[in-house]
Assembly symmetry: C2
Homo-oligomer: 170 residues x 2
DNA sequence: ATTTATTGGTTGCATTTTGCAACTGTTGCA
DNA sequence: TGCAACAGTTGCAAAATGCAACCAATAAAT
């Protein structure tokens, strides 16, 4: 991944990936969701190299996805906990899990299920809805430049209409 | 990322990441959602190295996320299109976009908006629901071993209860 | 029909990132 | 006080990525 490009892409996906797109990072977050808090927890469960884990945890803390909390007041050791910003990634984690379950793991059941804590019941498949509650299929989706779009982005999204390359202008 | 570990993690997130977790892959998919189909489209828009693009496109085709379709019957050149498996990643793409918009881009508006094609109206924020339609906050979520869980996974998920490390058994 | 430009790659080499294993200082606990 | 587990750091080897040049096939222009 080339950081120098990423800034220029004018896209929240790119900025998001700049934080959580590196190798291992999402798995680290998965462990955090699953209850890991301490360096050794992450290391043992993932088998990740310790130096890489250090770098990843630092980055996640710096960017506000995790917080480093001293284990006791004044202690030098600390644990890593999800911030609200980190917990807000649950959608992504669950989305990835469900996608993997659907397309990669169809035979043996899901290894892990996300449930509502209070009732123990599995959550629904994550889906895309309109603001008034209609579920959308992928085909019904489109993309348009938002308020923060650059000229380049706007030009790029012109590609979208289904029929292209019929003629070339300029 | 270490492939040799990934198999052993007994987790659909890991298998999903094995396919879409490498550098650039999600951005390539983003471009596909935005309308890119041909090698040069992806290359120009992302500024990705051409050899890496080749490798990524091959992998995405091999794993069924994209299909290679000849431009004309019998042509050797082809375009890359999202399969249903690929389109099903819309949730992830939109989720990442919205997360980036919320936490990384709050001042200037979203560069890109996902809309319902028919009406042009922006889609709702992706959220987690119970099967009977109640929206869940991250705090209300938990995780439990699914039907395909290994013994190791089951042991791992024991960590979850909020208070830990009170005592150590065994 | 021939030339030219564009497209869709491949190849080789430099740079960067990651993995691995050993080492160091710190803490918790008996 | 001593020992084991914890939380990293360091140095080097291996793998992934970036870059630029090159090549063959196709499409467009003359």
């Amino acid at each position: 991944m080339s950081p120098k490009n990423i800034d220029k892409l004018n896209c929240s996906i790119a900025s998001a990936l700049d934080i959580i797109g590196e190798g291992w990072t999402i798995l680290i977050l998965r462990e955090a969701f699953f209850g890991s808090r301490r360096f050794e927890d992450f290391q043992k469960h993932l088998g990740i190299a310790r130096n890489i884990l250090t770098v990843r945890l630092n980055k996640l803390c710096d960017s506000g996805v995790l917080v480093r909390v001293p284990i006791k007041v004044g202690a030098k050791r600390n644990e890593y906990r999800l911030t609200p910003m980190g917990s807000d990634l649950a959608v992504i984690l669950i989305g990835l899990t469900q996608w993997g379950d659907r397309w990669l793991n169809p035979t043996q059941g899901a290894p892990v299920t996300f449930i509502e804590r209070a009732t123990g019941k599995a959550v629904a498949d994550i889906a895309i809805f309109t603001r008034d509650g209609k579920k959308l299929k992928p085909r019904e989706l489109a993309v348009k430049p938002g308020p923060g779009a650059t000229a380049e982005t706007i030009a790029r999204l012109k590609l979208i209409p289904d029929v292209r390359r019929k003629k070339k202008k300029n």
